[in-house]
Subunit: 301 residues, 2 copies
Amino acid sequence: MDTITTVAAMQAEADAARCDGRRLALIPTMGALHDGHLALVRHAREQVGPEGHVTVSIFVNPTQFGPGEDFDAYPRTLDADREALLASGAGVDAVFAPEAREMYPFGLPPLATVQVAEMGWYLCGASRPGHFDGVTSVVTRLYLACRPHLAVFGQKDAQQLAILRRMTRELGFGIEVVGHPIVREEDGLALSSRNRYLSPEERRQATVLSRALFAASHAAGQGERSADVLRSAMREQIALAPQARIDYAEIVDADTLLPADTLNPQGASGGRYLAAVAAFVGETRLIDNVTLRVGDSGRGD
Amino acid sequence: MDTITTVAAMQAEADAARCDGRRLALIPTMGALHDGHLALVRHAREQVGPEGHVTVSIFVNPTQFGPGEDFDAYPRTLDADREALLASGAGVDAVFAPEAREMYPFGLPPLATVQVAEMGWYLCGASRPGHFDGVTSVVTRLYLACRPHLAVFGQKDAQQLAILRRMTRELGFGIEVVGHPIVREEDGLALSSRNRYLSPEERRQATVLSRALFAASHAAGQGERSADVLRSAMREQIALAPQARIDYAEIVDADTLLPADTLNPQGASGGRYLAAVAAFVGETRLIDNVTLRVGDSGRGD
């Protein structure tokens, strides 16, 4: 497992692997790896096969953090991350861990950016203006450095995944975007690098996010089709935790991310919707989501 | 010389050529090819050598035209363009000529765009808002389809060239941007696909653009360092043509495109400045520029 720190060296390794006929997978991360990340890495290995080439990028991207957010505090644990990758059994070929000056050679902020209009303006984008422009711009840089055939992202960042799918297809990268289901603790909490910020009491109360989503999913499975009813059900759950402060609790179309009125099997995404929540638990902002499907199966997942 | 119309087929050809160890060059054009374009193509062939792979893209990109501009009228002459490329002696390997739906698979306008802040806001960007966002976005798509090692652009579109240089380096495409000197008619008029719009009298008067630039270059060569004096000299020349209506006549730093006060050998671009003009001659908007160098050589070119 090589650790590569320059774009040029990463491109050279990727080009050589491509010309050897290997399939290349990229898993972009900000490090602080947990079992959710390792599930992405193992999924990538399954996708490209034993002869394939798997790169995990580790880069805490400054341009996706807003003023007052946790860029400085964000955990940087490269040695532990490398050990976790070695121990994962996924056979990682390369860790791409550039410095900021390698990704932003003209300094910050960059002049050149990649944007996906509209899809980044609501949900998390409403409370984190510019966040998704930072994400799309850095993922473009990572794509161009690592030249993968496919890239694996976690479904936990559902809005990010939808935006990156759109960007990747619309700009014509020739890269397959693969989403991987959320990995959860036994009590339902979605794994996140930010969970380590939680005090024991906050950690206990943080389960209201997934409880809210499971309530919405259950109601949809029972035939509830009103998005407002589902939103209220989620809000009621989150209100049960005194240390949780809701940012949003939304029902949106799974592909366009536009707010839904009614769950409709003939909707824009063929009856797929996201129930998505964001809440501060203490000072820590957490997000989570589940997909609701109506129509053929009629069940949420 | 293949004509390729899909992104997937173009990527496959480029990948095969790369893995054969060939150097790939791309010359992005909107067609209506003239001797200026053919000079770019021959220059690309010289750069990649006889074993290299040269692609000319021909795509009239809708997103870089504003309302009321000449998108519908822009000449589309694919058969003649192909003949001109065959006759050029440059040994073009591929013409990439996609339909709009291939470049914009989700329709128009696209949600995903690439932008270079600031550099696209003045000069031509001031009178053509959004133009350079269209250029950077389509060149990104062309880069991703054609996967070249180098891309050749004409210096006539100096602002475009500076913006694309910045974009290409800052996003980390791993592509060398090559600028090629302006090709001119004997009377000084820069070659342009839009020159065919000119009536004979307009064509005669259109020489004031290059005359204005040569006047500025001459004055700078004689030691004039005041940008305002050079601007006035250019305006005076253009005013001599009754059918010419000036859009801008500017002296800017060659890399940053910021307006200059004084030509300074220690300036941001090491003493390189652009004298740049845009003017309507009749209904046709024409642009032209020359590079002014102060310092080591002290001469304009």
